[in-house]
């Protein structure tokens, strides 16, 4: 009998996590360990005039830019962030030096006595100021059709603008990292998504040969993008300290330090100009995407790419002109966060279509459906939609399950319902997957198979999903499939654990390899097979002009949100979320639902309560007392279901999933609020404070 891959199994790692035996990096013990504490800039932009150190007791060390054996820059897409500040600082929280030693209390007393003199310089804080002063890090552009001509000829234009705020990841486990030298080999252990990113950063900074660096991922307590590029920086810090002191070094952030200096979702501003045909159909779109990258560009160009490639949403718009810019400000660097720029632009395009429909006096969903992409349509970058687009079926299901039209009619004032349609490109953008060129290994030893990948379990269920894919392909029990320790010295580089790529790309490779292993199963007792990812030949991408297939395939979805607003306090209560997705084929129904519900909860948080504002470069919400994420009382029952649409290159037909829910839900909530108040919502988060102003017409 054929086993159903979607049938739920128990997560393989849950027992040790429930009973508290799982060891996260802060639970590790090292002999002769020294702790590291980072001294950071307290000003937003300045020259460092002097650093006055107190007397440093024996056994304690100062580690700064002068101790960097290699390059003093953290390697990422743009390697511009100094590992330790040199002569200047560009944001509050920028690392300057470490105090290292055996007793945390003594470290603290040394820290308290360090004096840094700055010559402060005029800093730049907001996206508005940055645009005025043109502090552009990256300026991207692409177009399809003849948007300029259409705009010149079109009489009727609509302009609209949307803004979104910061979002902090609030993975429950704060950043933590450790390093030690065993003889002449550097070992770095920590909570991370991308062990090979960390290794590559260490290669630059430590000037060690490749075989002398090993990066080991420890059980990771949530990440959501927040442990994509940031651990490369902290890894360099502890590695340099270990190099100097020849002791194991541990550095665990507390929550306020984590919030102060770790990356966040990019605040954005998105401007649209729309031209229509005679039937009020959107004919041309001009999109201007502005992201606040913070003080260093880092990973932001990659985020900007995904943001602009999602600018057209699920709609087939004949003429489109998209510009995207990352701006430098003297703020903590923004970085990867679940959805990677797409939540901002999907919010923009969905609300734009809603606003147009309201203006035209037509049903928003009907108006949206008049523009839907379908199979063989060109994408906004001039690639091709190659899969069946099951949005009509998804929409039918979500409106039936939520009773959308009935509620739209019968809702009283202050009750609202909204619907969002969305997609997410699977895996890396453009040629990314061929650049990463991920490699995996399956090793057979009698009846035990070990899968070796650098993809990490960080809560999302990768260990269970990947073991399940291998076990079901080989038709052996999942207990006989071992997930090899994620240690760059032991596993090949299957790529970073990002971009919703792990199940589809890495799982796909594992499936393919396991199929080969199955045919050769009886060859010998022990053998291994390695495979590298090959980008499908039919996909074309021109990286200079951003034209072609930005993604091999897309996942799709529709969400309905119902809200109620208290007319006295403007408090928003989310009553119900109905979500339908096409992620190909679920690898595990329950695990996937868990991913979706969690992603929706983060999306609800970003859309409503998660306020993070910067005032003169200083975050006003600097701890979990002030920065609020949803609790069990803030999240309604979330209904999820799936429409099957197997993808031929995905394992068992699976596509991407992890980011999709966070991309999709914010506009559904925003539409519901707009619907409840009969007002326009152009900004996230929608707080009661903002709603009060909107309702009073300010």
């Amino acid at each position: 009998m054929k086993e159903n891959i979607s049938k739920s199994i128990l997560r393989v790692d849950s027992r040790k996590k429930i009973n508290g035996e799982a060891k996260y990096i802060s639970d590790w013990k090292f002999d002769n360990v020294l702790y590291a504490k980072t001294i950071r800039s307290t000003v937003a932009k300045a020259k460092i005039l002097s650093i006055t150190l107190p007397e440093i007791p024996a056994g304690y060390y100062i580690v700064d830019k002068n101790e960097v054996p290699g390059i003093n820059r953290m390697q990422t897409v743009v390697s511009d962030h100094p590992v330790f500040a040199e002569n200047d600082v560009q944001y509050i929280g920028q690392p300057i030096l470490l105090v290292v030693g055996p007793d945390r209390e003594i470290i603290y007393s040394i820290v308290a006595k360090i004096e840094i003199q700055y010559k402060e310089q005029e800093a730049l804080f907001t996206l508005e100021e940055a645009e005025k002063k043109s502090t552009v890090f990256t300026d991207y552009h692409y177009r399809k059709g003849e948007p300029e001509t259409v705009f010149q000829q079109s009489g009727q234009l609509i302009e609209d603008e949307f803004t979104t705020g910061y979002q902090e990841h609030v993975y429950l486990e704060p950043q933590g990292i450790a390093a030690e030298f065993k003889e002449d080999t550097l070992f770095v252990y920590g909570s991370m998504q991308c062990p090979f990113y960390v290794k590559n950063a260490l290669l630059d900074t430590m000037d060690l040969p490749e075989d002398k660096i090993r990066v080991v991922q420890t059980i990771t307590g949530g990440a959501f993008g927040g442990k994509e590029e940031f651990p490369s920086l902290t890894a360099c810090h502890v590695a340099i300290a270990a190099h100097k002191t020849r002791h194991p070094i541990m550095m665990i952030y507390d929550r306020s330090e984590d919030i102060l200096c770790s990356t966040k979702r990019h605040p954005s501003k998105i401007r649209y100009k729309v031209a229509f045909d005679k039937n009020n159909q959107v004919l041309a779109l001009d999109v201007d995407v502005l992201l606040n990258a913070g003080a260093y560009n880092g990973l932001s160009p990659a985020v900007l790419q995904r943001a602009i490639f999602a600018a057209g949403g699920v709609y087939n718009i004949p003429h489109i002109n998209v510009r995207g810019r990352n701006f430098m400000t003297n703020a903590v660097p923004s970085g990867a966060y679940r959805g990677f720029g797409a939540p901002q632009t999907i919010f923009g395009i969905e609300m734009l279509f809603y606003n147009i429909a309201v203006k035209l006096g037509v049903d928003p969903l009907e108006y949206k459906m008049r523009h839907l992409l379908k199979k063989n349509d060109p994408t906004s970058t001039g690639g091709q939609i190659r899969e069946e687009v099951k949005l009509p079926e998804i929409i039918k299901k979500v409106i039936e399950k939520s009773d959308y039209y009935n509620k739209l009619k019968t809702n009283k004032k202050y009750q609202g319902i909204g619907i969002s349609l969305f997609l997410h490109g699977c895996g890396f953008t453009g040629k990314g997957e061929s650049v990463i060129n991920g490699k995996i290994t399956l090793e057979k030893n009698k009846d035990i198979v070990t899968l070796k990948v650098s993809s990490v379990e960080m809560g999302q269920g990768a260990e269970t999903a990947l073991r399940k894919i291998v076990a079901q392909t080989l038709k052996i029990p999942i207990e006989n499939v071992i997930y090899g320790e994620v240690d760059t010295g032991l596993v090949p580089d299957s790529g970073p654990t990002v971009a919703s790529r792990t199940t589809m790309i890495v799982g796909g490779l594992l499936r393919e390899t396991a199929m080969e292993m199955k045919t050769r199963w009886n060859e010998t007792e022990q053998f291994e097979i390695s495979k590298r990812y090959e980008h499908p030949k039919y996909l074309h991408w021109d990286d200079d002009n951003f034209s072609g297939d930005a993604y091999p395939v897309y996942s799709w979805g529709a969400n309905v949100a119902e809200v109620e607003i208290d007319p006295v306090s403007y408090e928003i209560t989310i009553k119900n979320i109905e979500a339908v997705y096409d992620v190909g084929v679920p690898i595990d129904n329950r695990a996937l639902k868990g991913q979706m519900q969690g992603g929706i909860a983060q999306g609800i948080g970003w859309a409503t309560i998660e306020v993070m504002e910067s005032e003169n470069g200083k975050l006003k919400q600097s701890n979990l007392t002030d920065y609020k994420v949803p609790t069990s009382m803030d999240i309604p029952e979330i209904h999820c279901s799936f429409v099957l649409n197997p993808y031929e290159f995905g394992p068992f037909g699976a596509k991407c999933a992890g980011e999709l829910p966070s991309v999709g839900v914010p506009p559904a909530v925003a539409e519901a609020v707009a619907n409840a108040l009969n007002k326009t919502i152009n900004h996230l988060p929608i707080t009661p404070e903002k709603l009060m102003e909107i309702d009073n017409g300010n």
Binding site: S26, R104, Y108, E257, V568, S569, S622, K628, E689
Partner: protein
């Protein structure tokens, strides 16, 4: 190492205080966070600590001639579970912080922390609660609004301990409590309103309105309340806007990380109106 005292009884505690300037620590839920320094570090206390949470003298709840005495170190959870406590006060406490914090935090701590967002305070102001303070030489009783003198300020002398809070053993006909935070689960209060009223024959016999988090201390006005006595519910409805406006000048909110002054002002006025229109 910070010096610390853990007395056996209240008398010993008062004696220690007469000899030493101490930081008094009960449940610790405010102080431990305010003085926290970071991962795996001890909090930073300047004065010796005086631990009082365990003192049985401070943990009693009892009824005495129409007054309920609540010991300063009674844990919030225990107040919620005590049958002689008025329901509305239990409801308010049930909306404070989170269950683990309510299992540790004391009512006395909430008073002594004297935060404008202290969530027991609207009730204590509304019912004219009294605070009992003791030092080695004696006892004094202070009305709640005199006990709290400003943001994070009380009239507690260095040698005194808050021992009891006294509330009248009285139930009201109408009990309305609305608390707004940044989210529905545990959050600090942005705005709160407690409305209490006694009504007979469709007329107001007694009415109390207390507002939290919108001024340096809880806002309550006996003057405005008095004007509503003996008015019919219909009359109140007609003048609800006017009454809410009389509170306008008393409400002096601030902008902070959690809300805006503008919102706090407007919503407190809305809440007052809403209360008066739904008596």
């Amino acid at each position: 190492m910070v010096e610390a005292f853990r007395p056996q009884n209240l008398i010993e505690a008062l004696y220690i205080l007469s000899e030493n300037e101490c930081t008094i620590i009960a449940g610790g839920t405010d102080l431990m966070v305010q003085r926290a320094r970071g991962f795996a570090l001890k909090p930073d206390f300047v004065f010796p600590l005086l631990f009082i949470e365990h003192l049985s003298e401070l943990k009693q709840i009892y009824n005495n001639s129409n007054e309920i005495h609540i010991g300063a170190c009674v844990i919030l959870t225990d107040i919620m579970q005590n049958e002689i406590i008025p329901e509305i006060f239990k409801e308010m406490i049930g909306k404070m912080a989170s269950p683990p914090t309510r299992n540790m935090a004391t009512i006395g701590g909430n008073l002594c922390n004297a935060s404008p967002a202290g969530d027991t305070l609207p009730y204590l102001y509304a019912v004219n609660a009294k605070a009992i303070l003791q030092n080695a030489n004696g006892v004094r009783t202070v009305p709640i609004e005199e006990f709290i003198t400003g943001v994070k300020k009380t009239c507690l002398q260095k040698n005194e301990i808050l021992t009891d809070i006294i509330i009248p053993d009285k139930k009201f006909d109408v009990n309305i409590y609305k608390r707004l935070g940044q989210r529905k689960g545990m959050s600090l209060t942005k705005v709160s309103l407690l409305g209490l009223a006694d009504i007979s024959k469709n007329r107001i016999r007694d009415i109390r309105i207390a507002l939290g988090s919108i001024a340096p201390t809880i806002v309550r006005s006996s003057d405005i309340e008095r004007k509503m006595i003996n008015k019919s519910l219909d009359e109140i409805k007609q003048i609800s806007y006017e009454i809410s406006n009389q509170y306008d000048k008393l409400i002096k909110p601030i902008d902070d990380a959690r809300s805006t002054a503008k919102y706090r002002k407007k919503v407190s006025l809305n809440l007052i109106k809403h209360f008066l229109e739904n008596l």
